[in-house]
């Protein structure tokens, strides 16, 4: 089981953590909410919790709680630019359906 960061995502995350001035890495997860079942969680992490599953990608710690992991196994977090907007995008092979806007999904 693994979750990875794309080159671009890693570069930006490293940069953001530096500018933020603190943080051990990035926390990914899923929550049961949203218009189509699940929603992603994407947060700075200030501490590693005992139950966290920790992956290293491009030298950055990626933390996931064990309950979220099955929904995200094989996911790559990417950073993309769309017009004026830019941000992170989950490429998750487990997703079967997304809501129109793509902010929530089902597996």
């Amino acid at each position: 089981m693994a979750v990875t960061l794309s080159d671009k995502a890693a570069k930006h995350i490293g940069n953001f953590i530096d500018r933020r001035g603190k943080g051990v890495g990035i926390r990914l997860g899923v929550r049961t909410s949203g218009c189509s079942g699940m929603a992603y969680k994407l947060e700075f992490a200030d501490e590693v919790l005992p139950e966290d599953v920790v992956f290293e990608s491009h030298g950055l710690k990626v933390l996931i709680d064990p309950k979220s992991l099955p929904y995200m196994d094989g996911t790559e977090l990417d950073f993309v630019r769309e017009g004026l907007n830019e941000g992170f995008k989950f490429n998750n092979p487990n997703v079967k359906g997304e809501c129109g806007c793509g902010e929530s999904f089902t597996v």
Partner: protein, 622 residues
Amino acid sequence: MALLQISEPGLSTAPHQHRLAAGIDLGTTNSLVATVRNGVPLCLQDEEGRILLPSVVHYLPDGQVAVGRKAQVAQAVDPRNTIVSVKRFMGRGLKDVAHVETMPYDFVDAEGMVRLRTVQGVKSPVEVSAEVLRDLRIRAERSLGGELTGAVITVPAYFDDAQRQATKDAARLAGINVLRLLNEPTAAAIAYGLENASEGVYAVYDLGGGTFDLSILRLSRGVFEVVATSGDASLGGDDFDHRLFCWILDNAGISLPSDRDARRLLMKAREVKERLTSDDSVPIRLTLDSGDEVDLTLDRSVFADITATLVAKTLKPMKKALRDAGLEPEDVKGVVMVGGATRMPHVQKTVGDFFGQTPLTNLDPDTVVAIGAAMQANILAGNRAAEDEWLLLDVIPLSLGVETMGGLAEKIIPRNSTIPTARAQDFTTFKDGQTAMAFHVLQGERELVSACRSLARFELRGIPPMVAGAARIRVTFQVDADGLLSVTAREQTTGTEATVQVKPAYGLADDEITEMLKSGFEHARDDMELRGLKEQQVEAERVIEATEKALLADGNLLSDAERADLDAAIAALKSAAAGEDARAIKIQLESFNRASNEFASRRMDKSIRQALAGHKIDEIRL
């Protein structure tokens, strides 16, 4: 799919509930918008990658509106319908606007705020500003991929209520939910993280395109208080361009260039000025339409010499602000530089020499205000964890209160209270059977109404008739996060209410505030004495009125001689009260109380007898 941003721990947003917040620096010359993304504050660019949006609006005959650079181009060909620097007109009447005669606009004097007649009809400065704000809102929403939850908009520290309200109205018109207005120097201080720095006094030196503002802030317990502001409304980077332009004309031997040549030379001057920030020497080569050749080289030191008088012009406001604040340059802990013109090395040196320290320049002076506003907006929108919660950052510059009997100002919210705030005070009626009460809302530090500024008047009617002093009327002053005041008076038994929103048509200029503060300090002693006098006068009036009423009802309790004595005492008190000697009134009041003592006790006996009449002694419970 939608693109995600990294949240603070525990603050991931639910889908479609992103708390998108922006900070907007609505400037006289340029405006810009910033946000905090992935924990990093940054300015948002337009499609061409530019951050600054010229604050220019062009109304076209076909109903279209151009904003920014497109509008700027029209300035030369259609000046009447191209509104620049509209910020100067916000919340201002025609008579408040300087140099009206030199402006190309068709002004319409309207109540409260001046208006401009354009090809698309009469526009208020609020509408014009709304066009600039709308452009920035759309830029922000396209960059952030969703609707803005709200924005923090910056205003000069010296903006009064009317100007702040006009800015808020413009934002609302542009479809922006204003989280709050923030003072520009405070925003710059926030961008530098000074609210986490040690407590003390900071100076913010803001030399923009066309205006110079100097603010002295005091940081205590995480709250910035603006202690003094000063500046020059017609001094900025453009003046440096103009000096350089004149130098080029002189040294290249050109006189009276054509309009087009002059524009090209002026643009060249600006370019050279900017390059001299990093280069010691810059060549100026240009072939004009007239065939004249310009081939010069300008050293940084020469540029500093020819513009030295401009830099020196900023020294006077600096000294004035410090003097107003009662401080010396060495009392200032840090100096923040704002505005593109502060990039010039000789400006930084002059400011550094004056304050005896190196000013803070590591943030981009063009964007520092917007960045600070974005950081504040991010917190207000709820994107920061509770432990990082910042304190409120603004205070009321002058005390707010109401007029009480005798023309005295009763302060309800003292100056330097942090906002938002609400304070209440109970008042009562002065006369028996009084059913209405007039309220006069005041701003200022002086004890006398005539020396304070009148903000509003309103009346509370429908007070049930009671004896004087029995009614309880609660007056509540509420100041919201933007410094806007509402006053409510409520009669406590019936719940009858009257409210006024204070939106003065004409506000105070910064030096007026300073003046009012200073006069408050200087006249503290006189004011105290005057207050004492007024209080004695009001007390005398109250006693005389009560006694005269009692004499009307129970005058028969006194013998003719006693009656004559009391009448004489009343006359003596009246004449003392008409004078200006508080001590004399006090003495008369005391002797009057002795004189009327007998009468008062007889009245008391009479009313007890009346109360007891017809009752057996055992019916009376004591």
